[in-house]
Amino acid sequence: MEKYGIGQPVRRKEDVRFLTGTGTYIDDIKPDNVAHALVLRSTHAHAKILGIDGTEAENMPGILGIVTGKDWIAEDFQPMPTKSAVNKKIDGTPLNQPPRHALAIDRVRYVGEPVALIVAETVSQAQDAAEAVEVDYEELEAVTDQVKALEPGAPQIWDDIEGNFCLDFELGDKEETEKAFKGADHVIKLDLRNQCVTATPIETRGAIASYDKDTGKYFLQNATQNVHANRDTFAGVLKIPSEDLHHVAPDVGGGFGAKNSGYPEPSLLLYASKKIDRPIKWISDRNESFAADTHGRDQATTVELALDKDGMFLGLRTKTIGNIGAYCWTVGPFTPTGGSARTQGGPYYFPAMHYTGIAAFTNTMPLDPYRGAGRPEGSFQIERIVELAARELGIDPVELRRKNLMPADSLPRKTPMGLDVDTGNFPEVFERTLKMSDRAGFAKRVADSAAKGLKRGFAIAPYLECTGGGPKEFAGVKFARDGSAALRVGSMSTGMGQETSMPQILSDRLGIDFDKITYVQGDTDATPIGGGHGGSRNMEVGGSAVLQCANEVLVKAKQIAAHLLNSNADDMELSEGVFTDVKTDQSVSMVDVVAASFEQSRLPDGMEEGALDTDTIYEREIISCPNGCHSAEVEVDPETGSVNVEHMWVVDDFGTIINPMLADGQVMGGIAQGLGQALMEEIIYDEDSGQLVTGSLMDYALPRADSMPKMEMAFFEDAPTAKNPLGVKGSGEAGCCGAPPAIVNAVLDALKDDGVLHIEMPLTSEKVWRAIAEAKAG
C-alpha cells in the first residue's frame, strides 16, 4: 500500500485516457439530433441597441431559432447576482450592482457582450446567419481604464450608478498606520499596475444543454470548474428548482479560475433547448474566449512603505483601484478589495498596515478570479516596494528582506490584516531558497553574461498567500463485494490530478487497493453539495473530506473486523490492508471485511448490508496559509531589451504533501503563468474605441517551451497546519504569487547600473529597451 500512500509520487490514473485520445471533453460529446448554437456578440464597447432585426437570418437554411434580449425579458428571466463576499461599501451601504442578464437588453457595455443566441443545424449555418442579423447600434463613448472611469466627466456606464463606482473597502488600522508613517525615517512610494490578463486554458469553454419534456428536467454538460454553484445560478435565472437541473462537467481542459463563474451561455442554451426540443451545443472559439472569458488582475495601485533608520518595516499603506469590467460578475468586486487585502505585507513583520481598495466599472469584459485572485497582486505590491526601498536606501535587497521576515517564534500570529498565520518558518524557507540559488557562483555568471554583452540579475521573492473558495465539501464512498470502492467528491480537478490524489488518501487510510478505487467528480447527482475548485481548496477541503470519510469507514470496518475475529474494535489495527487483533494476533483482511459488509450474517448487531458505505461533509473553519520563496536569475540584452529567465529556485511550504509529483506540477504551472504575466501577457483594449486589441493567440502571447527557465523545487514539510486534518495548505496558486515579483525584480537588478528603477509588467523587450534608453537620456 505504501507505494500508493500519502506522500508518494503516484503516476496518474487519468493519464492513460488523456494520452490515448480517449478523454471526454465537452466538444467530444455528440448527442443524437444535436443542434448548434452561436452567440452573437457586441461589436461595440458601449452602445444603445435601437433594434435587432433577425428576419432575414431566421429564414436562412438550417436556422432553428434566434433569441434576443427582448425575448429574454419577455420570459421574465432573472439576472445573475454577484456572490462577492465583500458586498458593502465603507459607509455600510450595499455595493452598486447592476442587473446582469444573460443577454444585453437595450444597451451593450463591452465588446463581446452576448446580444443574441442563434441556433442552427450546423455551426456554419449559424455563422452565416449571424452575418445577416441586423443590430442597430447607437454608439456611446466608452472608458476601459478603471482610473479614468472614476474621474469626473467619464462616460457613465450605468445610468443609475454615479461615477462608475461599485464599492470601496478598507482593512487594517488607519490611525496606527498613519502614526507609523509619521514616525518613519524613510517612506518609499511606488505607483504600479498589475495588468489585465486572462487564464487562456487550452480548451475553450463550451456546453451542451437538453430538456426532457417527459420528466421536466434539464441536463447541462459544461466545461466548468463548479457544477453545484453554477447549477443554482442557472436555475435561478430560469426560475426553476435546482433539482430540475442536472449539471455535469466532463473532462475539463484547464480552468485556472476562468471556468469558475456563472456565465451567460448555459442559461441561453437551456432555454433554447426546451424551446426547440433538441439538445444544443455551443463551443467557444479562441477569438471569442479572449473577448468573453473573464479576465483577471488589472489593478492600479499606490503602495507606500515606512521604514526606520535601520531598515525595519514600520508600516505599509496600499491603495488600489481594481477594474471589474461592466458588471459585478460572480465575485469580481472581491478581488481588488478583500481578495488583495488579506495577504498584504506578505511574510514580513508589520506593526501596522492599512489597505484601501476600490472596484470600478469600465467598458471591458468583466473580471473574476484568475489563479490567485488578489494574492498575486498583493505579493507583487509588497515585493516591488521592498525591492525599490532596498535600491533607494542602498541596502542589499536580500538583507532587507531577511531582517524583516516574521520570525519563526512570532507564529502563530494574526497579521494586521487579520490573516491567521499558524505555522511556518519564513526565515528557514528563505535561507533554503538562497542556498539552492548558488549565490557563490553568481559573480562568475555575471561575468560570463557580460562577456556576451548581456546583463545578469538576481532577485528573491518570499510570498505568503491563503486559500479560499467554499468552506464545505462532500466525500462519499460506496463499496462493492469485490473490495472495490467508488469515491465521489464535490471538489474538482480540471487537470490537477485529484482522480489520483484523492484515491491515494483513501488507499493510504483504508488499505484498499489503489487500482480498485474509482473516482467521480463534477456531477450534481453524484454529490449533494460540491464546491468545485478555486482558491487552492481541492486538497485542503476536498482532501480533508476524503480523509474524514475514510476515518468514518475505518470505525465501522474495525467493528466488523472485531466481530469476525470475535474480539474488540479497540484492539484492531489496520496495516497493509489487514486488520490484526493486537492481543491475539488474529487477522482479517480489509477485502474480507468489505465482503462481510454485504452479508447480514457476518455483520454485528445494528449494522446492515452495505454498512461501510459512507457519506460525509467536512467544513473548514479557518483558511490556510501556503507560503514559500522564489528566486530568479535573468539575462537581459541591453541592445534589444529582451529578457531570458535562466533559472528559478523555489521552496514551498504547502504543509503535508500528498503527491509530490503533482505538487511540483502545480508549482511549475503556476510559475509559467506568473512568467507569462511578468514578461508577455496583457489584455489590451483600444483606449478610444474600447475594441479588444488582443483577441487571438497571435496578439496575446503565452509562454512556450523555450520561454521557461530551469526550475528547481523543494518542499518545506516541517510545518503542517492544524487547520485541517490532512495538514495541507494548498498549492495551486503559489506559483503566480512568487514568480512575477522574482522575475521583474531580477530584471531590475540586472539594470541597476543603468538607473532603471521600475518597469510596468509585462516586461516586453520594447518596454525594457525603452526603460534603458530613457534612463540613459536622464
Partner: protein, 155 residues
C-alpha cells in the same frame, strides 16, 4: 463534393468531403477520432497535430481534400495492441500532462521530433515544440518526457 481516400491509423477510409472541410473536422466529426483536439482558430496552439505520411501537421491548417492518398496517424493510433508508445509512457512517467487537452498534439509532435532527430537535445526539443502551447505544466516535465521518450524510442 470531392471524394478522398486515405488511411487513418492503418484503416482505409473513403469520404465525400466539402471542399472547405478541415482535416481536423474530418477526423473529429466524421471519423469520431476526438483525441485530436482543437484549441484555437489561428493554428497557434498545436493541440491538433497529427502525422501525415509520417510528418507532423496541424490538422486545423490542412484541408481534408489535401489529405487524399495520404497515411494519417492520430493519437488514437499511437499505442499498439494496448501498449502505450514509449513517448506516451514517458509523458506519464514524467507528469508531462495535467488537463490533457494539449497532450495529443504535444505527443504527436514529440514523436515526430524524436523520429527526425533521434539524438535531439533539450534546445532542439524547445525549438521543436514552439508551435505547441501548454497552459498547465510549465513545459519542464514535457521537455524531460520528450528526452526520455526519444531515448526509449532509440531502444
Amino acid at each position: 463534393m470531392p471524394v478522398i481516400s486515405l488511411s487513418v491509423n492503418g484503416i482505409p477510409v473513403t469520404a465525400e468531403v466539402e471542399p472547405r472541410l478541415l482535416l481536423s473536422s474530418l477526423l473529429r466529426d466524421h471519423l469520431g477520432l476526438t483525441g485530436t483536439h482543437v484549441g484555437c482558430d489561428t493554428s497557434q496552439c498545436g493541440a491538433c497535430v497529427v502525422h501525415v505520411d509520417g510528418k507532423p501537421v496541424k490538422s486545423c491548417a490542412m484541408l481534408a481534400a489535401q489529405a487524399d492518398g495520404t497515411q494519417i496517424t492520430t493519437i488514437e493510433g499511437l499505442a499498439q495492441k494496448g501498449k502505450l508508445h514509449p513517448m506516451q509512457e514517458a509523458f506519464r512517467d514524467n507528469h508531462a500532462l495535467q488537463c490533457g487537452f494539449c497532450t495529443p498534439g504535444m505527443v504527436m509532435m514529440s514523436v515526430a521530433l524524436a523520429t527526425e532527430q533521434p539524438d535531439l537535445d533539450e534546445a532542439a526539443v524547445c525549438k521543436g515544440l514552439e508551435g505547441n502551447l501548454c497552459r498547465c505544466t510549465g513545459y519542464q516535465n514535457i521537455i524531460k518526457a520528450v528526452m526520455a521518450g526519444a531515448k526509449a524510442m532509440r531502444g
